[in-house]
Subunit: 261 residues, 3 copies
Amino acid sequence: MFELLNEVKEINPLVLHYTNEVTINDCANITLAIGASPLMSYSYEEAEEIIPIASSVVINIGTMNSSHRELFVKAGKIANKHKKPVILDPVGVFATPSRSLLVKTLLNEVKFDVIKGNAAEIKYIGGFNVKGKGVDSFDDDENIDDIIKKVAKKLECVVVATGKVDVVTDGDKIIKIHNGTPKLKGITGTGCMSASLIGSYLGASNEILNSAAMGVLTMSLCGELSDIDNIGIGSFKVNLMDNIYKLNEDKLKESSRVEVF
Amino acid sequence: MFELLNEVKEINPLVLHYTNEVTINDCANITLAIGASPLMSYSYEEAEEIIPIASSVVINIGTMNSSHRELFVKAGKIANKHKKPVILDPVGVFATPSRSLLVKTLLNEVKFDVIKGNAAEIKYIGGFNVKGKGVDSFDDDENIDDIIKKVAKKLECVVVATGKVDVVTDGDKIIKIHNGTPKLKGITGTGCMSASLIGSYLGASNEILNSAAMGVLTMSLCGELSDIDNIGIGSFKVNLMDNIYKLNEDKLKESSRVEVF
Amino acid sequence: MFELLNEVKEINPLVLHYTNEVTINDCANITLAIGASPLMSYSYEEAEEIIPIASSVVINIGTMNSSHRELFVKAGKIANKHKKPVILDPVGVFATPSRSLLVKTLLNEVKFDVIKGNAAEIKYIGGFNVKGKGVDSFDDDENIDDIIKKVAKKLECVVVATGKVDVVTDGDKIIKIHNGTPKLKGITGTGCMSASLIGSYLGASNEILNSAAMGVLTMSLCGELSDIDNIGIGSFKVNLMDNIYKLNEDKLKESSRVEVF
């Protein structure tokens, strides 16, 4: 799947973001760094016009801006209509009932190709009663791999659960990524940027599972490569952008620690 | 008061921001750098849900976004109801009547624990007729320490006036911070980030005066440490994040220049 | 025209931005780096209050935020009323009908001093039917210099067309800037930041053509100076800020490659 990196750089897909105001600049820069083109819109008026020219659409609910809630749902539905791949980043879905409700609405109104969250977020989402598919509860001792596979099957999409080990699955096959560094949680937006990377790969390829895996692998591996010499988080962020910009297939082959089941 | 730094790192308080779109990313990253967790929301719907789980609330009126004015007042009132510490950063309060009016409304509707501004902003706020406490005017030759003390007494909160020397007071005791560098005015958001740092300390401690002092001391000291070798402002900002991330009690003891009266 | 740099640093003009949420922080920092003061507002209420105290006004439609469309038109009109120089950055004007319409409305309602876009955007705008000045179409083999001059004459303002060579014209005189690097397209916001730089020069000087040229020259030259040693884009952005901060008249004289016709 490492060859997808060159496809991004050749195809230069347009990754349209409906995202939060905190990490919007970082998402644009990481999309450029990997070789795709970012576009950000907060416009109800142009949603129907701009989504048809996008290669993929990323929806991220980070700040829950009251002015954008309906826009995000609308954008997802239009993306579906035009068969554009859509990625959901359900930031903090279990933090408030408002977030849960918005994510539930999104899941019921929009067919997502990839949903990316941390393991707790994915587990929480799996418990939703969506599209008439009942409420699930998971046992505490249930294996996280099994849970994530169940969620992927239920929501009929690829699911990415980030963590110490990132787990990616289409409900059947599982890809595990063992690269990473705790520093990635030391700066804001690495989760949001992972979704931008997934959107970049998905905008250049039809391989949904591999695109999702490449997105998180790119972030986890480049984070690992950037965490050198007791570095501070200001320098770490600069390094991260540099390493993603300089990533190539050779480095992927050399340093990736990926398992496929 | 230097021990408060470790309390932040141990407690990892959740600092909820209602802030401007210019420096929102920097505020999130500085909150992470000091060891707290940032959360940003522009949602009317989740205000009542999310404030109860926050450790402290920062309100910053920087861009005066018409869509957020009422949200910021609402958030302050909910924070009061749930006894969460609230910090106000009245950016540019005297620049326009709209800013003055919003700040006056905030002061009348919300009980703040800390108000942080530059000396001119604090002096201006002190002249407001708030909560029936008349209009004050200050003599030009009146000592700035005395003015800030008066403002703190009138508004019944801790007041931070930043400048060449930062002055922090609860109306009685005064803490003066002599660290700093003019470079801190050479990048945007160092004022906003100071409020985030105050919010981080205040989310981990009940000592309001010391938390406010630690917030501005952290910024002023780390700014000073970052201003090396005729540095440009791009590198200065990276250094600033690194130094805040690496700050510890020993460095505070070694390099702080603080007076207490 | 290089002496304008010192005028910015002496006068420290206030550059008011009505801009997108993606690059708003970078625009603020670049404005500080060149020696001006940034101010960002998303407030309908304070537009009439704050524009009179601004030195120049930058309008950038980047995210097409539905909440800000009318504000941006309003701000342009108020700027005209108070004879403040206004700069338009019509980001992606031909990407969607909504963008075209907003730019056309802005051109009909507001008299701009400078319009800055890439060559394609400028050409597209030149074809608008604005202020009763008919629809133009350009021949494919028509010289880009001639097209940009025509657009400047039609819109009665200085026009900046960025590209491998930046072209600046008032419809009569042409200034060409040969500095630059492809890396400037590798990070988001260098176009937006160029508009902030033009606003900074224009806030300090009445020479519209030279101010516009200095704005793009500053970006293109400092970009060129920052592109060293197979640099990644994270470090490139830091360098760019450093080089703009450190730019002086000697460096301008030494390294600028400017033609005037």
